[in-house]
């Protein structure tokens, strides 16, 4: 069973077709990096996977659970899928630790001490053991994003989605977030990353997917993708970003 399977997925916002027949598979432990210009539909794919966006046609299956089956409850799907946002979206009225324990306590119904224990471990994992009691406003962007990663991991999801997780960060602190993401990849966390970090994609991706205009133009392992891209559109995009 694949960790993620998209078949013939279509989505339009009004007359604007943002996903035109997308099919994509991600195996357990794989890291799929989706790259492409703005407006190509990359983020919409991620948001469709956890139902933040409902698709018009096609099927999506996450770890055996059908996203497109209306009898599948949101909560059961979202427990399986962790999401990290470009703007972090930490809850500003809660401490870092409370951000991380909210899901486990209120969705998984873990007792407080168990949720706290989990949060402490995860904050240590992302290098923020000493920031548990800090509010988001007291943290740098890179620290906030690492808390957000810990928050998503606390649900022990089968799949992690990263929506341009480093795009809102200063170049010099993207490294600390990428380091955490690389560590997760090394631990065989199944990940789908929409990213502009070509170095990251080349280093950790199992597959690189290039999207443009709501279509997957080309998809290949990173050596092949960056070394010998087949499509003209891919070549011209890579020549601009590399």
């Amino acid at each position: 069973m694949s960790a993620l399977e998209l078949k013939n997925v279509r989505k339009a916002f009004g007359k604007n077709e943002v996903l035109k027949d997308i099919s994509l598979g991600v195996e357990r432990g794989d890291v799929c990096c989706i790259i492409g210009p703005s407006g190509s539909g990359k983020s919409t794919i991620l948001r469709a996977i956890n139902r933040l966006v409902l698709i018009d046609a096609g099927t999506i299956v996450v770890d055996g659970l059908s996203v497109t089956d209306p009898t599948v409850r949101d909560v059961d799907l979202r427990r399986k899928v962790g999401m990290v946002f470009q703007q972090f979206n930490l809850f500003p009225h809660m401490t870092a630790q409370e951000n991380v324990t909210l899901g486990p306590r209120k969705v998984l119904n873990l007792p407080k001490d168990e949720a706290d224990e989990r949060a402490v471990k995860l904050l240590a994992k992302v290098g923020l053991a000493d920031k548990a009691a800090s509010r988001p406003a007291q943290l740098s962007g890179g620290q906030q994003q690492r808390v957000a990663i810990a928050r998503a991991l606390a649900m022990e999801p089968a799949l992690m989605l990263f929506d341009e997780a480093t795009s809102a960060l200063d170049p010099e602190i993207t490294g600390e977030v990428l380091a955490v993401m690389k560590q997760l990849a090394a631990e065989h966390t199944t990940m789908v990353c929409v990213t502009h970090e070509m170095g990251f994609a080349r280093e950790v991706a199992t597959d690189v997917v290039f999207m443009d205009g709501g279509l997957i133009v080309e998809s290949a392992p990173p050596d092949e993708f960056f070394g010998a891209p087949k499509m003209e559109r891919t070549k011209s995009f890579l020549s601009k970003v590399l």
């Binding site: 979202r78 427990r79 809850f91 009225h93």
Partner: protein, 212 residues
Amino acid sequence: MSSYLGALPALVRGLGTTFAVALASMVLAVTFGFIAGTLRSTLPRALDLPLLGLVEFLRGIPLLVLMYFLFFGLPQLGIHTTNNVAAVASLALYAGALGSEIVRGAIVSIPAGQTEAAAALGLNTFSILRLVVIPQAVRRMLPPFVALFALIVESSSLAALIDVTDLLQAARQNVERDPDIALPIYLTVLVAYFIVNYPVSLASQRLEKKLA
């Protein structure tokens, strides 16, 4: 002068009534405002329409006319109210409509990313509101709500016109007995309203600066 001093106990009792009417109206207005505002910011458009209509209607009518309607009009439908109840009800409806806009505005001002992040964790709509959106929105509601409280205190003086013996009505009654004390009495009433409201308005300004 002696009739001025003689009027003071009545004014103090009137101030007590003003406080009671204003306080009861605030509690009801906040409750109504919270329920209506929360519903209005979460309900789909079609279900929101009746509430939108009610709120817009209440915001578009003079408070005094609403008070007259409740006190003089409703009895003809067999709904009898005391003047105090009619005053509180009309103030609560009027301020509640304004309050619902404060609540709705604060809720919709919370960035969509907050709701999305909470939804992505698997929280349901009610939990998202209760645990994520409303705690943040309440901070933004505080300054305008404090200003609304000041407005309620001021507007409660209209209740004198349906014979609630509040501060203003107590003053009127005494002036009717002795028109010569009109100036000191009404000056006293002005100052009394100011003394009650000024700390409220100061608190509002402070909160606004602190939470900005």
